[in-house]
Symmetry: C2
Subunit: 236 residues, 2 copies
């Protein structure tokens, strides 16, 4: 029909060829399919062939958009981060106590991740490879990492807890590191409903709150600053 021909006209300046949107649509379609299959059947069961055929594209086309299966994991990871942020930010909005804000944010993260617990082992396996673009420490995942650290920056920023100025600067990144550790524990947590991870969060966050306050004591101030200096040196 004539109308459908008109529909294909791009709104952008480039008049040549197909709509510049089509690529993005195909890309999103592949990610959607992959994320669904990851959750339903796990990582190994989700073959690239299956993703492609379920998405209605050829295998080669899937590889045109995602250079490897790991790149699909990367896309999945980005979505997860966004979901965690979307859940955590409103959850801590009313609270002012630092330890409580931290606890709430961490529980929100676990809530979001729970449906993927079975698949998370493979996810983290890919993430730990330094050569992988998905590695949380890699150059390529810097945006996702910064976004994640940003959440902890907010946890710290809006809390009423009094903090040493230098610690306040470094704390978000340290909390993010702690979050990585909790995630690692969660992946290995075989208790029903990952109860142990919940226990860890509930009991560790008040301790972190107390320790952070203790750093203001004279006996601990020196050692605290040395730890912070070391952290800075390791990053440079």
């Amino acid at each position: 029909m004539a109308a459908s021909v008109n529909d294909k006209r791009g709104r952008e300046g480039a008049p040549s060829g197909a709509s510049p949107r089509r690529g993005e649509q195909t890309r999103a379609l592949i990610v959607d399919t992959a994320v669904r299959l990851f959750a339903e059947h796990g990582y190994d069961q989700t073959t690239m062939r299956r993703v492609a055929s379920d998405a209605g594209v050829s295998l080669g086309n899937a590889y045109y958009y995602f250079g490897s299966k790991e790149h699909l994991v990367e896309a999945f990871y980005d979505r997860l981060q966004a979901e965690i942020r979307a859940a955590a930010v409103p959850a801590i909005a009313g609270e002012r106590d630092f330890a409580t804000r931290l606890r709430t944010a961490l529980h929100a993260a676990v809530d979001v991740m729970t449906p993927y617990h079975g698949f998370a082992g493979k996810l983290i396996k890919t993430a730990t490879d330094p050569a992988s673009p998905v590695s949380p420490f890699s150059e390529q995942s810097a945006p996702a990492r910064e976004a994640s650290i940003g959440l902890f920056r907010e946890v710290v920023a809006d809390s009423t807890t009094r903090l040493d100025a230098r610690l306040r600067d470094e704390l978000p990144e340290l909390l993010w590191l702690g979050h990585m550790g909790i995630t690692l524990y969660w992946v290995h947590d075989t208790s029903p409903g990952q109860r142990r991870t919940r226990l860890l969060i509930d009991r560790a966050t008040p301790l972190v709150g107390r320790l952070v306050e203790l750093t203001r004591l004279r006996v601990l101030r020196n050692v605290t600053h040395e730890v912070l200096e070391l952290v800075r040196a390791l990053r440079a």
Copy 2:
């Protein structure tokens, strides 16, 4: 020749078939070959077909001894642990200061691992998968883990540093966890010769030593014991 027929007679009681040693020899030959190829060409480049042919055995035979490529990694890991212990124990023998013993042991571990830095990324990738038998937290690697914790038990045991009794019990396992963390850092360390990891060890161990002593202060005693209780709760 008649002599060679005689050579085949086993020394053990079982008179049937070939020498009982033969299997172990083949097994060792395959591991030797795999470790060498891992170091020379990395993990992905080292195919099972290549390991088998370089070792002079058939592919089927390699799989007879090692159920999967990951099992080769496991064997490699066991060797590494033994080598680390063999290097660390004599290195700390004369020293009595806790922080110095810890530092020396950690440097010894890095020394042993250095030739494999390029390949370590893949190693740790396999190790992080909770489903893998190579996971340092898995049931199957309990012997290797215990051996590794044992090294830190020795670091603590023969030191003159005065320690809270409860902390003394838990410290070896906590130090082992720290060692896992350092290893993770080392794997991601792209500085020449992994200088940053050396810096981390040199500067973190005195801090650990001071912090351990500080836990004996009255202000910190409570929070210390709560941390230790949490650690126990998470293990149970």
